[in-house]
Subunit: 305 residues, 2 copies
């Protein structure tokens, strides 16, 4: 067990121009874990209700994901429903039922506490900090957040970030967190908040990695058809973190390794692109490591000059 | 003389969050020519009024740009005025006075007609085709267009494109021209319209080059401060075309040379980025080839993995 992932485990309903699904496995923790599982052993911490299906647990365990920390409590699993715009670049939330996730208080199994890698998915920043404090020995720790916490829990978030080695957020969140419109200036400000590695995700336009010493830019993979972008950002996170975990790098080493960090960003881009090819987590039911490696090589071909 | 550039020569007024300028040299032909002049000899075809200043002619000739085809007629030079949004991603036109440009009918000096390279800046498609027919022996021909012509002169544009080796447009124009939302599908459709090389510009997000055999993706250069983006797309075009002209490639050779085409895209990105660093064409008053080469190497550093 090397990587612990905390976050939401949910059911989603989505409508895209290609069709709709009323209820399918989702949640940030689910996507991050499935994606990272192609690179490194993963265990999750989350909460679900009595309605959580055994076949969904089975999908996780089929990828050797540890589910000891997946707590089951009375009530219903977190449910989210949304609809995507014709060009897939916007989505509107139709329904958010937090259900059992409203009282989520991550409980780390004892067997998790010695794991060297920790990814804190988007939950309330004080909860993220609590988990981090229980895993003091973890050698590479990071996560993501969202506009809600930047807005209503800014002080808690800033305190939490001090304990992180990396932060993954999207461009809108980076601008909101830093108060800077310019991406380079935004990054410089965020790198002073704690994390020495920052990845700013730009949706279809790829991602930019910043450290105090260098930056790296990856374009987004061009798909013939974006079937369902739900979870793509989380799959990026899983590929990024999973790749670094697979190398056994600690925070001090990772922050100086331009090639390894760059390849982690590409691995994230690769996993995010696969995620969009089918509804929800469906692509992970058939995806192989050979396909992942082939797409990594495609990135080299269409970015090298 | 190797590259002939046709297009608008204008005066612009711009307002950006960094300041405003009431009247400065502009126009697509001006930007394309200045940018390309760092790579290859350039001559221009355009029209200006009696108000066109000698110091602006002098700037062009200081870069060894041939101005025999810069026609001067009674009246005023084309004037455009616009204001940029706070994040620089949108601009609003405040004033467009076509003036002498309304009757622009490009007249090619005899000495231009044997040039091997032709870039047709954004003017009415029938005019572009007329110029192309006067330079039948040109071995690499392309240009750009705009939403207006895609809308009101579609048939003329499609006829014109049949005679082009490459087309440079932005993503919105590519979607409009092809009727496809998805960029990859849009590109496939456009490549069937004539040009075997297509570059889709995505503003701050870079550019994607497509041929029937491969594609290449370049991220946009991250500036600390985008001072004035006016002309950046045209400077991209100048760098792209100028680089290919500097290699002496004809259309058949260029379309199969992935590395050369990719480097042409990066050269375009480099020149577009410099353009944004000062108001209007001001950056070209001091820019050196050494700075250009250094930024090209920067692109290699932040995209290689």
């Amino acid at each position: 067990m090397s990587l612990v992932v905390i976050g939401s485990v949910a059911y989603d309903g989505v409508q895209t121009p290609h069709g709709s699904v009323d209820r399918m496995l989702g949640g940030s923790c689910t996507y991050i874990a499935l994606s990272a599982s192609y690179y490194t052993p993963v265990s999750i911490v989350g909460v679900v209700g009595g309605d959580f299906a055994q076949e969904d647990v089975d999908l996780l365990t089929s990828r050797n994901i540890g589910v000891e920390g997946l707590e089951r409590v009375p009530g219903k699993t977190f449910f989210w429903k949304g609809v995507y715009s014709e060009d897939m670049n916007d989505r509107t939330t139709l329904q958010t039922d937090l259900n059992v996730f409203a009282d989520f208080n991550p409980k780390l199994p004892e067997t998790y506490k010695s794991a060297p890698y920790l990814f804190l998915g988007n939950i309330q920043p004080d909860l993220q900090r609590g988990v981090r404090e229980q895993m003091k020995q973890a050698s590479l720790v990071g996560g993501d957040t969202m506009n809600l916490w930047i807005d209503i829990a800014r002080a808690a978030l800033l305190e939490t970030l001090k304990g992180w080695d990396f932060l993954l957020i999207n461009d809108g969140e980076a601008r909101m967190l830093s108060g800077e419109t310019n991406l380079k200036r935004a990054a410089a400000k965020i790198l002073e908040m704690g994390p020495k590695i920052l990845v700013i995700k730009r949706g279809e336009y790829g991602a930019v990695l910043f450290t105090p010493h260098f930056h790296f830019m990856a374009p987004g993979y061009l798909l013939d058809r974006v079937f369902d972008p739900t979870g793509a950002g989380d799959c990026f996170a899983g590929g990024f973190m999973g790749y670094l975990a697979s190398l056994g790098l600690d925070a001090a080493a990772a922050a100086t390794r331009k090639q390894e960090l760059s390849r982690a960003v590409i691995s994230g881009s690769v996993m995010g692109s696969f995620c969009c090819e089918q509804f929800g987590v469906d692509r992970f039911r058939t995806l192989t490591r050979q396909e992942i490696d082939a797409r990594f090589e495609e990135f080299q071909a269409f970015t090298g000059f």
